[in-house]
Symmetry: C2
């Protein structure tokens, strides 16, 4: 079917997988890394930096914005994007809780 039966899973599980899905494409990873690297807003040059067509970049930015990890301000004819820090922190807490499950797991059975 290709449809994840989200109602079968907990809200937390769906949230984790939603964040992960956004990180599940190297272009979005690259976009986020660039936003962090320049340590400021970015206006326009993402198309040159990433190397994908402008509509494709716009689509990836939309997904990042939809899940709340970036925000964009219109500045003249261009749009200025940057990391949404509060939401990034909240996302980190959710993901880290999932990743840190191993610290309570002591058995080594296989």
């Amino acid at each position: 079917m290709g449809l994840a039966k989200s109602e079968m899973f907990t809200d937390k599980q769906n949230l984790i997988s939603s964040y992960a899905k956004v990180f599940g494409h190297p272009a979005r990873v690259a976009i986020l890394e660039h936003l962090f690297a320049i340590n400021s807003c970015i206006c326009g040059d993402l198309v040159d930096v990433i190397g994908l067509a402008q509509p494709t970049i716009s689509q990836h930015l939309k997904e990042l914005k939809n899940i709340g990890l970036i925000k964009g301000n219109v500045e003249g004819t261009s749009v200025c994007y940057c990391i949404h820090k509060e939401n990034w922190t909240a996302m980190k807490a959710t993901i880290n809780k999932f990743l840190d499950q191993d610290i309570n797991c002591n058995t080594d059975c296989c």
Copy 2:
């Protein structure tokens, strides 16, 4: 096209997105959580726990095994799965480095 142009991105970016892709489905999140929760190997009951058909679970387990996050030992007619702890730790280091980029980012421009 639907094809991620992996050669356009760094190995690190591709690795991060590969891990994230695996976490990008709630069923695999649920499987991993269950493996951690029971704190031991699991033989067979995943189909009952997750609520998807046996071939579907088998497919998700395969993806988790392919990326190295779980390992499976044949025990009689069943297979015993558990977390691959060394690889889980390595994965955590990679993902955390990506997630912790915000600690070096002080600007708040938007």
